[in-house]
Symmetry: C2
Subunit: 398 residues, 2 copies
């Protein structure tokens, strides 16, 4: 059998202690015995937070170049330790920082984008039978160390996979795959063996914290098969590809709790539109919940926010719109339930079946939004688990 080329990425919780690093070294050696590998790692556990805490009085966010200089030490520590652990077990390994691995990025500190990877260093490692151990999250622009922002190590892994034409980019995490629902809510939830990027993207942005959606987008664009696996439990995990054939119509059901639904009615005025958009953006409101509609001479804006930022955003809207504000209400204790599946929009069956069930059970919906591959609605948080369980059964997800 030909060797496959793989990128193996281990996140912060998989390398949180030296003991865990030793355990994943074992895992890497097993995989590397039959495959050509590149390993990408994050900073250990809370190391990034600890570094930022140490700098907190110096306002690191004001000095993005120095911020990146500081944070990049986190992954550099992990690669050194993992490389030692591999060599302790008799493997050949070589740690590489972002610049040593020639990961070139844009100039934007704290949220740089990878623009090029020269794979010479990696190929030199392979020639010497060394496993390259690469610091995720970091790169270089004109001799400055840059970092990629949230989910950066996943992005490094996917970009490397594209650069070396990897057969698969394997993301090792705390969970052993993507599930049809949160097993803590829906006991019958099952692991999905294969799914489509689009469904994964919806799940990623709906709080399945396993993969960052920027990384899924990049994998989708670059056509890199992604596999989500557990760092410590054997198994095939979930494979994410373009393939739609093996993707079920409905991939899963997600539940996001502690939501607050806000309705704002105000006199039509384009400056108010503009200001409201700005406010929503500033407060990082997920645009997937935002709904605008015209109501006589007024506009109705509905959206969901987390409970702890509701009060602040309501005040901001009242200040901004001033006397043109006609009505504002806020509903605490909501949960957003989403049914996710590729092409769900064109499958009338899903919508009608879900609506029918909700109606039959007298469940009031406060806000409902949908996309090509998602149907979401807000219900009272108290009934959310029951609804997720019943819909999971209704759509035969188990």
């Amino acid at each position: 059998m030909d060797k496959r080329t793989l990128v193996l990425k281990f996140g912060g919780s998989s390398v949180a202690t030296v003991q865990k690093i030793v355990a994943i070294a074992e895992r890497i050696i097993t995989v590397a015995a039959n495959n050509r590998c590149v390993v990408v790692v994050s900073a250990m556990g809370d190391d990034t937070d600890i570094l930022l805490d140490s700098a907190s009085t110096l306002h690191p966010e004001r000095y993005p170049r120095e911020y990146d200089m500081l944070l990049a030490t986190g992954e550099q520590k992990t690669i050194a330790l993992l490389s030692m652990a591999l060599q302790e077990k008799g493997a050949l390994a070589r740690s590489l920082t972002g610049w040593q691995a020639r990961i070139k990025t844009t100039a934007q500190h704290r949220k740089a984008r990878i623009i090029d990877i020269d794979t010479k260093t990696i190929k030199d490692c392979w020639k010497r039978d060394e496993i390259p151990i690469i610091a995720g999250f970091q790169g270089i622009h004109a001799e400055n160390i840059t970092t990629l922002g949230r989910g950066g190590s996943d992005l490094t892994a996917v970009a490397l996979a594209a650069a070396i034409y990897a057969d698969e980019c394997q993301i090792f995490t705390d969970v052993d795959g993507i599930y049809s629902a949160d097993p803590r809510i829906v006991a019958e939830a099952v692991k999905i063996s294969e799914m489509n990027y689009i469904a994964m993207l919806e799940l990623a942005s709906l709080g399945a914290q396993v993969l960052h959606n920027r990384a899924v987008e990049l994998a989708c664009k670059m056509n890199i098969p992604l596999r989500v696996l557990s760092s410590f439990i054997e198994g095939d995990g979930t494979l994410v590809t373009h393939n739609i054939k093996n993707t079920p119509t409905i991939s899963g059901i997600t539940v996001e709790k502690q939501q607050n639904v806000i309705n704002v009615l105000y006199k039509q005025d384009s400056i108010h539109h503009h200001n409201c958009w700005k406010l929503l953006e500033e407060h990082n409101i997920s645009l997937s919940t935002v709904h605008w509609s015209r109501y006589q001479d007024s506009f109705l804006l509905s959206f969901a926010t987390s409970e702890n930022q509701a009060k602040q955003i309501i005040q901001a809207i009242e200040t901004t719109i001033g006397k043109d504000l006609e009505h504002i209400d806020s509903h605490r204790g909501q949960a957003r339930i989403s049914i996710v599946g590729v092409g769900i929009q064109s499958s009338e069956y899903v919508f009608s079946a879900a609506h029918h069930w909700l109606m039959n059970h007298d469940i009031p919906i406060l806000l409902s939004t949908s996309s090509e591959s998602r149907f979401s609605f807000h219900v009272n948080e108290k009934s959310a688990n029951f609804i997720a369980q019943e819909l999971h059964r209704l759509f035969h997800l188990q």
Copy 2:
């Protein structure tokens, strides 16, 4: 007045906390107002030890490349934080790792030597009015991060000073200069305002822990004036140069306690000489205490060691020499007192005065060694402080 070009080096205890980093930022800004500066820093306080502790189960010493990769994060953290602190106070600053500052070294990990510094990056900083903040102790060889070994940050500072033709290399430390004796032992000890490299070298290797002797050697060779200053107390410190005119005949008196003097008598045999040299080297015995002499058909080897390694080295000698060993004795509780000064050897007065005083006070000497600029002798530890105080007075050092 023309601006002077200065290297300012701050050691680990000067940057041990963010508060201290903020304090030295203030100091740097004052100096940089009238001078063109490059700043070199070490890792914060115990950070290097903490990094090594974290790796201890992985035997980092076996993997020198990864060892350097790990340790280099220490200074990288300091440069980021110091650069933030300077910018918080309104200064322009830019952190530079060893490779960014283009400090090229030999390939030897853990004890690399600086072979070249391309000063372009530093000059670019100056053009933008930025203070370059450079990670000490680290460099690069063929894209590998290297470290310089003990006293490495001092070496970085001196090498940088040579590369940028600095007027002075200022070493900021815990003490406000070099003293004629340890003030805890000799109350009348005075700060020396100016001294010669050679005297400083003797003092450095005699336990005045302020400057590492490799750095003094390099400064001497490169003709870089060194200044030892306190990080937190104002003052001119001690200037170390080639100048001999302002250097007193006797610079100072040092006391090293907890010494053990060992005498070994063995049958003449060149293989024993060779093996003994190897043993002394392996145990890092200061060669300045080693004395060999022929005694009839035998050889007498005398040397001093620290008390805690005496037993081990005696056993090793017994094993090595075997049946040719004629006698071995060991004297605990010794102290080495050294009188240091350039040209002391040619100043008969010092030797005769010291010997005369010792004789008059009935003080037995166990071992005495000397160099061009040092006269040392071992006495019972209990009388060491008294002797140092008296000789300090005798030679009018206060």
